[in-house]
Symmetry: C2
């Protein structure tokens, strides 16, 4: 049987651009994983890894022109957005190099023998070591920042783990180009190119998660795809950690006082956030609880105006376009649902942004309207009009886990008056990031960041963005009664590497 | 149908002592979980939790007499061991209270707005919050330290999570008594007694892991039982973290130089470790790689003498006794396996300690001897005699994950000469705790401790012993652009609680 070709497709026309590769056979997946595994020792040195990551950032900068061009041709995301995403990707690679240099992520802890504890404590020295080969599943909507050179890859390499990336079929040419750049960066530091493996094909993705030498996986994508891989990871003879970001509704609550104070500003802000990148962000606000009455009407009016002004856009591929058109039609057809601006097919290859409204009471109990509580990828949101604070609580109690939850408060509420604190307490159990008077689109790469949330937002309690994302690819090991001569320098009493650590129970840095 | 009775059984006679309870119906499990969930707010205050844990330790101390008596009657572990285990349990409760007081476990991180990053950073403030109700599955072999008042319960309560414990059928009376003590401690601090739920019964255990309000689980037990619960946790509509400690062979490598230097000491030490607690420790050394030749013979001779002197002992229950007798017979019947001291039935209710020897070459490739690479619970170990360092490597490469791995080195090797470092590097991928010139039995409760290891030792990368065990029951949440008036004090700039934190990227304490 001939190998299945992998095509790069132009979503602006639906036409094939070029054949990029062929789908990997099980044998090829196995060889790629084995080569990555065999190369892992080259990533053992922290300084080498940090230098490799920085060189990768530099080389991506040098290759920006062709990379953005290829990505735009395959994703239609536009050169401005893609240039920004590539800059973010470089920043992220460098940020993980800094994390490696600092070394707090190693979690070094040293206890000296202590007869006063129950039971007595021997000499114990712990730090965290890399798990092994990490399988990375690239996302459709971020050809750079959540794909081959993205956060999963950067954090895994930072941890000392080789990666094998399963390229997303929406940008195979970009994936190939970027993998070459990363491998060139590896080679510059004497690291085998096999530490960045790349495979194409749906079956190859399943083969990858089942491979005995794959030690963990990172995923960004749909609930259906992510759950299938999560299930495969859990069903292995030796189960492995599966850190998947699957789907999120990202609820927004607008208080009556906030609507009274700045209905127009909120309506316009919401329009910007929900249509950004043609609504193809995992943190797009997909459900907005806004008050009934005149202030809520003003909000809806300004949302209507702003969304009506939005140009039709091209989604990442035609299957997504079909799903969007079908999905919004099914939602719009529900009882009591209106479409002030009708979302749907905007042309042969484009879609038009829009939004739906529904009485919040329709979402307060199980029924056909539960469809409105499921993520719909693309430029659409649902505004649920509530008649009372009890309705807000009722709807929130029915939501699955989310990446983000947002509340729009008045100035007085933000200062502590009224229901602000109470609403924050209601939103916190729903999400991993809670925002006040902001919009969830835009995820900063920062030490305090957390990009994750209760299932199905993520399949673990970890983050995929920010410094702590490195922890996904590590496991602790403790050495007991081990002579200093045999210990790695990280665990020497003298702390020759100057690492932050817990020393006889006390934090030191 | 009448509720199934739960009996306390005396393993010294196999006779029922008393009916302790009845197995929980699905409805009872549901009510217990719901009550625990409803009580969770009472655990929100850190100072209350720390005080509760310390009072629990105090009350367990006060109740030592009846607790040890009940536990001994059900487990035959003996009052000395059980008194020590209860002391360890109290120490552990107090240690987690200290962890709560210190607050480093919250992982507080604060980033102020920064326009210089790509993308720009808004105000971000992260800490870790409790997951919710934790299901705890008590272990057979530790009626205190890994059961109702054990590390899973202590760390979950410390994290702010109510627990529902599934009592182990080997000590239901002890479980009931201890639960009452913990509830009395809760009541002393105004915490609803429902934060410590207790259910009995196999089906109740499955019901528990599937309950929608159960947010995570801790387990210590067999590979078969643990894997079934792990699978159930992963198959839920909303999967939950399952931190299970399942099984471990705990390999020991004795170098030729070590055997030459102190064969007798190693043989005697091994006998003590493998027969401790009638071989019923998860860290019992179950496979020992010892050299062929005269020095190895001396080791085997001293092991033979010491194990021969060991009195028959009572296992925790008669099913375990049957499994032990069957298991050692199957192993002893393999080609080339000898039994210098025959393990097996030592009397009607007891078992006799013993050990087997086998040429290491028999373990170097797949075959019937793989049975020797599976844990056999009870007082037996396997000494594999190797002819070359290559045989050590070959056998180690075939081992599943372990809690511990040990190497016995000569004084010169321990000082850095010879193969010491190399062997340590070979053992590290196999285990979560690596020991030099010690024995794996005895697990200190210390900040640097790690009690866990690659599957099947544990089903996650977490520890079940030591301060970091609290992290299993927490998830991060970050507040973005949230006014200080609405933030918890943990996230205020002024740090009113004096918490260790990462502030604008820098570690502070």
């Amino acid at each position: 049987m001939a190998a299945a070709p992998v095509w790069s497709v132009d979503p602006r026309t639906g036409k094939r651009r070029e054949q990029v590769a062929v789908e990997a056979t099980p044998g090829e997946v196995g060889r790629t994983v084995a080569a990555a595994h065999a190369a892992r020792a080259a990533l053992a040195d922290r300084a080498t890894r940090a230098a490799f990551l920085r060189t990768a950032a530099d080389l991506l900068e040098g290759a920006e022109g062709p990379l953005v061009e290829a990505a735009d041709a395959e994703t239609a995301l536009g050169p401005v957005r893609l240039g920004g995403e590539l800059a973010r990707t470089r920043f992220q690679l460098r940020a993980f190099a800094d994390v490696v240099d600092e070394g707090a992520y190693l979690g070094v802890a040293i206890d000296h023998p202590d007869e006063s504890t129950t039971p007595p404590t021997p000499d114990l020295r712990r730090y965290r070591i890399p798990l092994g080969v990490v399988a990375v599943y690239g996302a459709s909507n971020f050809p750079f920042a959540f794909s081959v050179p993205g956060g999963d890859t950067a954090s895994a390499l930072a941890a000392g783990c080789p990666v094998v990336v399963k390229a997303h079929p929406d940008h195979p040419a970009t994936s190939e180009l970027v993998a070459k750049v990363l491998r060139r960066a590896a080679a510059e530091h004497g690291v085998p190119q096999a530490v960045v493996g790349l495979v194409h094909g749906f079956d190859a993705g399943l083969e990858l998660i089942r491979h005995p030498l794959v030690a963990a996986a990172g995923f960004t994508g749909s609930v259906r795809g992510g759950r299938a891989l999560f299930d495969a990871a859990a069903a292995r003879p030796v189960p492995i950690p599966f850190h998947g970001e699957l789907g999120s509704l990202n609820p927004v609550v607008v208080t009556e006082a906030a609507a009274a104070e700045r209905a127009e500003q909120i309506g316009t802000g919401l329009a910007g956030s929900m249509t950004l990148g043609v609504g193809q962000f995992c943190v797009k606000p997909g459900l907005v609880l806004a008050p009934e009455g005149a202030d809520g009407d003003r909000l809806v009016k300004s949302l209507t105006d702003a969304v009506s002004d939005t140009e039709p856009g091209v989604l990442l591929d035609h299957r997504m376009r079909d799903d969007f058109v079908t999905g919004v039609a099914a939602r719009a057809g529900l009882t009591d649902v209106s479409a002030p601006v009708t979302p749907g097919a905007g042309g042969v290859h484009t879609v038009a942004a829009g939004f739906l409204t529904v009485p919040a009471a329709r979402l307060a109990a199980e029924g056909p309207h539960d469809l409105l509580l499921e993520e719909c990828f693309g430029p659409v949101t649902v505004v649920a009009r509530y008649a009372s604070p009890q309705e807000i609580t009722a709807v929130l109690s029915r939501l699955p886990g989310n990446l983000t939850a947002t509340v729009q408060l008045s100035a007085e509420e933000a200062a502590g008056a009224g229901r602000g604190a109470e609403l924050l307490a209601e939103l916190t159990p729903l999400a991993g990031r809670v925002l006040v008077n902001g919009w969830p689109t835009g995820v900063a790469v920062a030490p305090a960041q957390h990009h994750g949330g209760p299932y199905p937002a993520t399949t673990s309690t970890a983050t995929s963005v920010g410094g702590t994302a490195i922890g996904r690819w590590l496991r602790p090991v403790v050495y007991q009664s081990t002579p200093q001569a045999l210990l790695p320098p990280e665990l020497h009493d003298a702390n020759p590497l100057g690492l932050p650590r817990r020393y006889d129970g006390r934090l030191e840095h």
